[in-house]
């Protein structure tokens, strides 16, 4: 009797366990995520706006944020190409009607802006929210992300001045995106079962001809000789033993002298400026977005403490109207960079 009951119990237990086998195969590994944890990390926003937080922001609010946090890299009008590709330009009122950016058909148009390409407003919202500003990602609040998105679309003449973008009207704004109809998935390069998969063959259908093949014979493109040195001395980019050497493209004496040693304090300071992202906006000698290091060094010779403070706090107005955002580097790095600047910002 009892053995019978045990057998039934075992069967019942097995019935419960079987469907859940995958979950229970690895006892002690992993745990359930809490709702707060999922909320903290699940920040993605889809084209159907699944995942979009409620909120709103106006073009005007966006402009204020833009000028303090975005313009230093992207330019006041989103037009700058000095740090990243331009965000704005190349779209027309007609594109807003058709959903196709006509400029994309032109082979003479220099480059492609973000607004020429992006088909979905959700993409802008998601990306600004997760990755911007570049040196302080995820620091914007949802309302600020709405505002910056609104301002960016206003720069592209997609939204009027005075517009307030919100979770309520963003689906309507989607219908204005200039390149919303500009994408195709009819190709053979998606590895899943969706889109053109299985229906579209690879677009190149080359044959493996083995002899007397009809192929182009003229060399019609190569680098000019004076471009050889643009990549440095190719001799130093090849192994010194083996079937060939690198071509000498830069005078060996000059290139040898320019190599900074690891122990060089000047090289260490320059490395800190690279590590902390300073070189995104400052050239060694010349102005990029902000002044060149040499220009700063000249103006503030010997003023290491002042410079260390300015690096951390940021500033505006001294070198033009593009503000420098406050920086989040370590105090030691700020001091070291300031000392190097105050001592003349010499190249290693």
């Amino acid at each position: 009797m009892s053995s019978c009951r045990n057998a039934i119990a075992a069967l019942l237990a097995a019935a419960c366990v079987l469907p859940a086998a995958a979950q229970d195969r690895f006892p002690g590994i992993g745990r359930a995520a809490t709702p707060a944890e999922v909320k903290a990390w699940d920040i993605d926003v889809r084209p159907d706006f699944k995942g979009l937080p409620t909120g709103s922001g106006s073009v005007d609010q966006g402009q204020d944020i833009w000028e303090s946090k975005c313009a230093s890299c992207h330019g006041v009008f989103g037009e700058s190409n000095s740090v990243f590709n331009p965000l704005v330009g190349g779209t027309t009122k007609d594109d807003i009607k058709t959903g196709h950016v006509a400029t994309l058909k032109r082979t003479d148009y220099p480059g492609r802006t973000t607004l020429m390409k992006v088909p979905t407003v959700s993409t802008l919202w998601d990306y600004i929210n997760r990755a911007m500003p570049w040196n302080a990602p995820k620091s914007l609040k949802p309302d600020e992300v709405y505002a910056v998105t609104a301002y960016l679309l206003n720069l592209g003449d997609i939204l009027p001045a005075g517009f307030t973008l919100s979770d309520k009207n963003i689906a309507e704004v989607q219908k204005l995106m200039p390149n919303r109809n500009g994408m195709t998935t009819q190709h053979a390069m998606w590895p899943g079962n969706e889109f053109g998969a299985g229906k579209v063959k690879p677009d190149t259908q080359a044959k493996a001809c083995m002899s007397q093949c009809e192929v182009p014979q003229d060399v019609t493109s190569r680098l000019p000789a004076h471009a050889d040195s643009a990549w440095g001395n190719l001799h130093d980019q090849n192994r010194l033993v083996g079937p060939q050497r690198g071509a000498v493209t830069v005078d060996a004496a000059k290139s040898g002298a320019a190599k900074p040693s690891a122990a060089d304090p000047l090289a260490a300071a320059v490395a800190l400026t690279q590590k902390n992202g300073c070189t995104a906006c400052h050239g060694m000698t010349t102005k990029l977005v902000g002044p060149g290091f040499a220009e700063v060094a000249k103006k503030y010779a010997g003023q290491a403490d002042y410079l260390a403070g300015k690096i951390v706090s940021g500033g505006e107005g001294v070198w033009g109207n593009v503000p420098m955002p406050a920086q989040t580097l370590s105090p030691d790095d700020a001091k070291a960079i300031a000392a190097w600047l105050a001592a003349g910002a010499k190249a290693p």
Binding site: K105, T120, R130, T184, A188, R222, Q237, Q244, V248
Partner: protein
């Protein structure tokens, strides 16, 4: 025959035949002119350069032999015993984590000048010209960062699964590394590899033309295992989103078919050690055959969903512009491709005679079936030897004998994968995609070996 407008300057080879060094200088305006001309399609401006090279006067061929018998009865390297044959060497553990020979310091990954304005949203290229076999040493693996790299404390790294699952789950690195692991060799190639060359030649060497390519043995847990542990709804869930923990928090949509087949790995190991920080330490996604951007580094989360996400790197970047102004979206597979790495651009052959032409072939659709090599610009081809192992969606090394007669030669390789796909030449590729795609350039590469022995990156049309 037309006279080339940019005649080559002779380059010096420090060992072997000595030739006059060029007066190299950087002329930005000149470079820009060439790029601009190329973009305008005016590639005819250097048409006939190869013909002119053929017609050019022969360079001095009577240079030093690589291994002559010296006058004094023998090679001093043999006759006079060197210190390493006559002294005591260094002790064990001189270096707790050994480094390459000091004579190998030229083998470095490098950025391409002018390609990016910042060093955090940038790329460094693997030195393919100096690598053997199929494995990329981890320290030479190409880098692509969008917002800088981090060396993350593994004790603070977490991995989350959420979305269309019964129970969203959180894993520590300890837990992930307790699970059954698999180890597989796969190539990873950036979708923009060779992207600068769509319109015209833009870079001098294989490092810059093809160096956003690496191959490693990756160790980790199949993603499907972790999804099943969370009770994934694999009927409704058709796509997964992978997301990084770094500032850029890269996100890419991946089809569920790659996941359920067990191909996609949540990896922590690379070539016998942990992932390098520049490659996503302590956790990255491995998506065999798919472009590198989908191999999300610093992987913190995978979400299962029923729609694709249209993320920034699926709708602003990594979209392929076609001649009709439409962009191809969700192009992910790296199609069959190959390149000769030795000899290759920017190198100088030491002399006439025997060479082992060697290169790499790969396909995002499976194994490499065959590689053919031409030394006459694609007129005639011979089938190369494939070295083992030949693995699924992995680099395959090919070799073929070549006795160089000292005359100009154009070396090409053409790969075929197990689906029968044949790597196209530039004419075939541009005929369907134009030259503004940026991404997924898998055209046949041409290296012009000049009479001087110097090798140039060229395109034929």
């Amino acid at each position: 025959m037309t006279v080339p407008q940019f005649p080559d300057q002779a380059s010096a080879v420090p060992h072997g035949r000595l030739r006059k060094a060029p007066e190299g200088f950087l002329d930005r305006a000149g470079i820009q002119t060439v790029f601009a001309e190329g973009r305008k399609g005016r590639r005819d401006f250097i048409r006939g350069a190869f013909a002119a090279a053929l017609a050019g006067t022969a360079a001095a061929q009577a240079g030093a032999q690589a291994n002559p018998v010296p006058a004094e009865g023998g090679d001093p390297n043999i006759l006079n015993l060197p210190p390493w044959s006559t002294g005591l060497g260094q002790p064990v553990v001189t270096d707790g984590y050994g480094k390459p020979s000091k004579h190998e310091s030229n083998v470095q990954r490098r950025p391409s000048p002018g390609l990016t304005q910042t060093t955090q949203a940038s790329v460094s290229f693997a030195p393919l010209q100096s690598l053997f076999g199929i494995v990329t040493p981890s320290g030479l693996h190409f880098e692509r960062h969008h917002q800088g790299w981090w060396d993350i404390d593994p004790s603070r790294h977490r991995f989350m699964i959420n979305g269309l699952v019964k129970t969203p789950k959180v894993f520590t690195m300890d837990e992930l590394m307790r699970l059954p692991s698999v180890s597989r060799f796969h190539f990873i190639e950036c979708g923009a590899n060779t992207g600068m060359e769509w319109g015209n030649v833009a870079v001098p060497t294989v490092q810059y033309s093809h160096g956003m390519l690496s191959c490693s043995e990756f160790t980790g847990v199949p993603l499907i295992t972790l999804l099943e542990m969370a009770g994934a709804d694999l009927k409704k869930g058709r796509f997964v989103l992978a997301e990084g923990a770094d500032g850029s928090s890269m996100t890419r949509t991946i089809p569920i078919e790659l996941v359920t087949s067990g191909q996609v790995l949540v990896a922590y190991g690379q070539n016998g050690e942990m992932l390098r920080p520049e490659n996503g330490y302590p956790l990255r996604l491995v998506v065999p055959g798919v472009q590198g951007v989908s191999w999300v580094k610093y992987l913190r989360r995978v979400e299962l969903g029923d729609e694709p996400w249209n993320t920034k790197d699926e709708s602003v970047h990594y979209i392929d512009l076609m001649p009709d102004g439409q962009h191809r979206q969700y192009t992910s597979i790296q199609e069959c491709k190959s390149v000769v790495t030795t000899p290759s651009g920017g190198q100088v052959l030491l002399d006439k005679g025997f060479y082992n032409i060697s290169g790499l072939a790969w396909s995002g659709r499976g194994k490499i079936k065959r590689v053919d090599v031409s030394v006459d610009g694609g007129r005639n081809w011979r089938t190369a030897r494939l070295e083992t192992p030949v693995l699924d969606r992995c680099l395959t090394r090919f070799n073929i004998d070549w006795a160089w007669d000292g005359k100009p030669a154009i070396v090409q390789s053409r790969a075929m994968d197990e689906t029968g796909f044949v790597q196209p030449n530039y004419r075939q590729l541009r005929a369907v995609r134009g030259s503004r795609s940026i991404y997924h350039n898998n055209a046949i590469q041409s290296w012009l070996v000049q009479e001087s022995g110097e090798v140039k990156n060229v395109q034929l049309s």
